[in-house]
């Protein structure tokens, strides 16, 4: 084995495991942050989360089409990024409408979390129907602009390797947008008066009332922030892959798994959990055959795919991790609330 083989193996792993897991992890982390903030402040598991993500992405796509029809595009960047702020506003307003008409009724009655959770399942069906009614159940690509930052063929030629490294622009955009969103969220929660009052309300509701914190205002800000996070997550995921309501719905399990692995109610836990789930899913379903061919001498080369689990089982991984965490450490990595 020479150095080239080692480099080839590393490039291969970066291309098929590290970079995709990093971008999928960032998308999942944003979605989980939204879930965990709702859980922390409003105290219920929001099952409408994944369809809410569909709704936000759908709104972005509609705005993107409208902008494109006006001849406005993002140039080398996807037009969806321009549409995103408008879509966040619409999604947040829609969310507040649902809150006023549905959730606030149960909140005033001081219903237990289980009731709110079941209510959120109802909201989930409504959102699902709206999305399918407006944009349909089909797979849609809404990416435009420059597709690659590093192209596999160029990379190969340039470095004289047999493995190419591809970095899609959506992957870099995901990473940058996710970092900006996370940093500003943590700044908001830790440094601003409103953010601190949200944490105070989440920590001790009665005492927050005694301190004069207005609960309705906290609820409103929570919905707006959670809407912004989930819409951003949905758009980044859709740009990277494609938008299909059913695929989005299937993200509900990884989201909950990530929230619980990290420690539900804890924003830092949500970020850690998002990356843990994403890296587990991709490392466990990748076929390592070529990787070992590079690293091992010819006589030891594997004949099988060297794949731990078929990609069809990727949701099982979230599920298994979820079960293990609930048995071994129910509070999650960062000590969150116990469900």
């Amino acid at each position: 084995m020479d150095n080239f083989e080692l480099i080839n193996a590393l490039v291969l792993i970066s291309n098929f495991v590290l970079i995709p897991a990093l971008s999928y992890g960032s998308q999942l982390a944003l979605a989980t942050l939204s879930l965990t903030i709702i859980y922390g402040v409003l105290r219920f598991s929001n099952f409408a989360q994944a369809d809410w993500m569909s709704f936000g992405t759908m709104t972005t796509i509609l705005f993107t089409w409208y902008l494109q029809s006006l001849g406005i595009t993002g140039g080398f960047l996807p037009t969806a990024l321009i549409a995103l702020p408008f879509a966040i506003i619409v999604t947040a307003l829609f969310c507040l409408l649902i809150d006023r008409s549905v959730y606030s009724f149960y909140r005033k009655k001081k219903s237990p979390p289980i009731v709110l959770m079941i209510v959120s399942v109802g909201v989930m069906f409504i959102l699902q129907a709206i999305v399918r009614f407006v944009i349909g159940p089909n797979d849609r690509k809404f990416f435009d602009g420059e597709k690659f930052i590093v192209h596999a063929l160029d990379f190969k030629d340039y470095f004289g390797l047999s493995e190419g490294l591809t970095i899609k622009s959506t992957q870099l955009i995901t990473l940058i947008v996710a970092i900006i969103a996370m940093v500003s969220l943590f700044y908001f929660l830790q440094r601003t008066k409103m953010g601190k009052s949200m944490r105070a309300y989440s920590n001790n509701e009665d005492l927050a009332l005694l301190s004069g914190i207005n609960p309705e205002r906290v609820v409103l800000i929570t919905w707006v922030i959670a809407s912004a996070l989930i819409t951003t997550a949905g758009v980044l995921y859709g740009l990277d892959k494609s938008f299909k309501p059913f695929t989005y719905f299937n993200l509900l399990l990884p989201m909950f798994a990530a929230a619980i692995v990290g420690g539900i109610g804890s924003p830092i836990g949500a970020v850690i959990g998002g990356y843990v789930i994403a890296f587990s899913e991709i490392t466990l379903t990748y076929a390592y055959k070529k990787f070992f061919i590079y690293l091992l001498p010819e006589s030891l080369e594997p004949s099988g795919l060297m794949q731990i689990l078929s990609t069809d089982y990727k949701f099982a991984i979230s599920f298994i991790i979820l079960v293990i965490v609930l048995i071994v450490r129910p509070t999650g990595i960062v000590r969150g609330k116990i469900i």
Partner: protein, 226 residues
């Protein structure tokens, strides 16, 4: 005040009065309605009859939050701090309703409780029982209240810490605040009290100066264990 939690009335024409720079202690056997009286003053339960008057204004119809803004501060017996926030953030949340500079009040509180200044970056939930109690009182003081109500401030702390808490309460009184305390440790509490109420079954049974109640043979016999 007459009222309760919806079932049978717990308070029966009970009357409590406090002036600024005064400590009033409410004592009485279990189930006498001590905490209920305090909740009624704060607006956490509805009264059937009676009024809550603050500086001549009737605040009986205000929500608890409005009463906080009007100048009543309350330290509950349990869950009285934001355990996941730092000490300093607890104070900031106490001053949530105030606009403008709260740093001056924070500094004054640090003067009163030097231990708070030392631990200001620490999570309130990681502190000892006595220190938590100090955080709880400090948070309530951040609203610059006219009336400070404490529900069993010495529950579950050691005798030494208890003395310290009472010392601080006297200091707080000196700054011009009216203090109402519900207390199980009747003997110690009455020592620092200007006036004391003994509640039994939601009624005022005895009322008098703190030290008079302490020496009153009947009160001694029934509540202070001879």
């Amino acid at each position: 005040m007459t009222g309760g939690y919806g079932g049978e009335d717990i308070l029966h024409s009970c009357n409590i009065e406090v002036n600024e720079k005064e400590i009033v202690v409410i004592v009485g056997p279990n189930g006498a309605g001590k905490s209920t009286a305090m909740k009624a003053m704060l607006g956490m339960i509805d009264l059937k009859s009676g009024d809550i008057i603050l500086e001549g204004n009737d605040i009986s119809n205000l929500s608890p939050q409005k009463r906080v803004a009007a100048g009543i501060a309350f330290v509950p017996q349990s869950m009285n701090i934001f355990s996941e926030l730092t000490v300093e953030e607890n104070l900031e949340m106490g001053g949530f309703l105030r606009d403008g500079n709260i740093q001056k009040t924070i500094d004054e509180i640090y003067e009163l409780f030097p231990a708070m200044k030392e631990k200001r970056k620490q999570l309130a939930g990681e502190l000892s029982g006595g220190q938590r109690q100090q955080v709880a009182v400090s948070r309530a003081l951040m609203t610059q209240p006219k009336v400070l109500m404490l529900d069993e401030p010495t529950a579950g702390v050691s005798p030494i810490v208890m003395d310290e808490i009472f010392d601080r309460i006297i200091q707080i009184k000196e700054t011009g605040v009216a203090v109402v305390i519900v207390e199980q440790n009747a003997r110690q509490a009455l020592k620092i009290a200007d006036f004391g109420h003994v509640l039994v079954n939601g009624e005022n049974r005895f009322y008098g100066k703190g030290n008079e109640l302490l020496t009153d043979p009947e009160v001694r016999k029934s509540f202070l264990g001879g």
